[in-house]
């Protein structure tokens, strides 16, 4: 009884263990004990959920033998023709292949499956990520656009496509995809901040036909909206401080200058508060990423040096 309960409670605390290396390592270390225990043969919904999570985290940490056992039991229970098992099998094949040639053959298999059954979403997504990991970004973007044209409600795919366009320097398209995400999730403050970042970067890269100050103002609006939705969103305040700082350097007219200065001041205060509370290990303020705190501190220090000089 203990093992199953332990894993379930762990999964309820960390609902997505793959996001973090340490949680996936912890989960995969439990795998051999769970697989050999008597509870692993129970046929309940929770057991199969655990099997899937264990398989993924074992693949991530390189415990291929446990992953193989998980996969065998899953395919024994649900059949090799189930769409989800097919995708997991593909994932296992991808993770255990050693050369580019093997990956190509996995890709070929995906394409065969999709020719037979074009509605198999998990395989379609596997194919996209395999194309990307093979370095074929253009094909990946094409596959992703075709996926989105038949299922436009997939916010994660839109966000993924946006980041791909961003790496290709197609900032306009990237912003467009993020706007699509906002249509699906209108309160996504992180997406607002991301639009602000992309707008700022694209303006600084001298995107054709856009006025730089106008684009900066646009970015500031997006950052402001993101911190309006989530008061302690470090990334939003960071962007707000950075872009308003740049804006002030560009010497705008009087009215806007005052507004930008007060925004900059506010962002600095909020960032200082976040950094201070994180450093003092205050309760409820430990959820921030240390690297992000460090970056915020750097930004504030840089700004202060500029003024003292």
């Amino acid at each position: 009884m203990a093992m199953l309960k332990l894993l379930l409670s762990y999964l309820s605390i960390h609902p997505s263990p793959l996001r973090n290396p340490s949680t996936s390592l912890h989960l995969s270390q439990q795998a051999p004990a769970f697989l050999s225990s008597s509870e692993s043969t129970k046929d309940t919904q929770e057991t199969w959920l655990i099997y899937e999570q264990l398989l993924l985290s074992c693949l991530r940490t390189g415990d291929d033998s446990s992953a193989r056992v998980c996969l065998q039991r899953l395919s024994g229970r649900f059949g090799v023709d189930s769409a989800r098992v097919k995708a997991l099998t593909g994932l296992y094949d991808e993770a255990t292949s050693n050369s580019r040639g093997e990956l190509e053959s996995v890709l070929q298999r995906y394409q065969d499956i999709l020719k037979e059954d074009p509605t198999n979403m998990p395989i379609e997504k596997r194919r996209i990520s395999l194309l990307l990991s093979l370095g074929r970004t253009e094909d990946g973007i094409e596959a992703l656009t075709s996926l989105l044209s038949h299922s436009p409600n997939d916010a994660e795919s839109w966000a993924h496509l946006s980041s791909l366009y961003f790496t290709q320097g197609l900032y306009q398209q990237s912003v467009f995809c993020l706007e699509e995400v906002l249509l699906i999730l209108p309160n996504a403050y992180n997406i607002f901040a991301r639009i602000g970042e992309v707008t700022y970067i694209s303006a600084s890269a001298g995107a054709s036909g856009t006025n730089q100050t106008e684009a900066f103002e646009e970015a500031i609006k997006y950052f402001a909206r993101s911190v309006e939705l989530s008061e302690w969103y470090l990334r939003g305040w960071y962007g707000l401080k950075l872009v308003t700082g740049k804006f002030i350097q560009a010497k705008p007219s009087d009215g806007t200058l005052r507004k930008m200065e007060s925004l900059n001041q506010l962002a600095t205060e909020k960032l200082l508060q976040i950094v201070g509370r994180f450093r003092r290990n205050e309760k409820g303020w430990m959820g921030f990423d240390e690297a992000e705190i460090l970056a915020a501190k750097n930004l504030i220090d840089r700004d202060e040096q500029k003024f003292s000089r």
Binding site: E138, T145, L170, E180, I201, A205, E218, A295
Partner: protein
């Protein structure tokens, strides 16, 4: 920090977004023309309000015509509800009870309210060019409201609430003065 804590780890590397924001690309990378656009994307539609510029702005006469068309739609809207009201009134019977009374009261209230706000109803279509052309529209609207009231009066009449029979004015009825009296002679 506790003095006997674990050895200090080197500071974690900056997240990717910080690197992106602080190392701006010096020039716009040449995008690969073979990359397809996302579904629904059109050049210049990213960002806001730019697509509206592509549509030609309508001329004032066109907007006036549109205004008038809209105003006529608004004016003729009550005409559609009159047949429905008539059927409802006919079907609900002439007895005095809560539902028929409420429906009849509504039949008077709504047109009266509408009649008192004719000006503000058509205010959004009103400008110096359309002002004279709006008169027939307003008259039609008022006429239809009066027709609705007439329907209400018909209903009230059917319920026997109109004081249009002689017995409704009994208080003013004079006692009949006889010109002559005749009596039996009791002998």
């Amino acid at each position: 920090m506790a003095p006997h804590g674990p050895p200090r780890l080197p500071p974690p590397p900056s997240p990717q977004w910080v690197i992106d924001l602080n190392n701006l690309p010096s020039s716009r990378p040449r995008p690969n023309p073979s990359i397809p656009d996302p579904p629904g994307f059109s050049q210049g539609s990213a960002g806001k309000g730019k697509s509206s510029k592509s549509h030609p702005t309508p001329t004032p006469t066109e907007t006036d015509d549109l205004f008038l068309k809209k105003a006529w739609e608004l004016a003729l809207a009550p005409a559609k509800s009159i047949p429905m009201n008539a059927i409802m009134m006919y079907m609900s019977g002439n007895t005095l009870q809560i539902f028929s009374i409420m429906m009849t009261v509504m039949l008077f209230m709504n047109p009266l309210k509408a009649l008192s706000t004719v000006g503000s109803t058509f205010a959004r279509f009103d400008n110096e060019r359309t002002h004279t052309r709006l008169w027939p529209v307003k008259l039609a609207y008022i006429g239809l409201q009066i027709a609705t009231i007439a329907l209400g009066i018909w209903k009230v009449n059917g319920m026997g609430l109109l004081p249009n029979t002689r017995s409704d004015w009994l208080a003013w009825e004079r006692e009949r003065q006889s010109l002559e009296l005749s009596a039996v002679a009791l002998q």
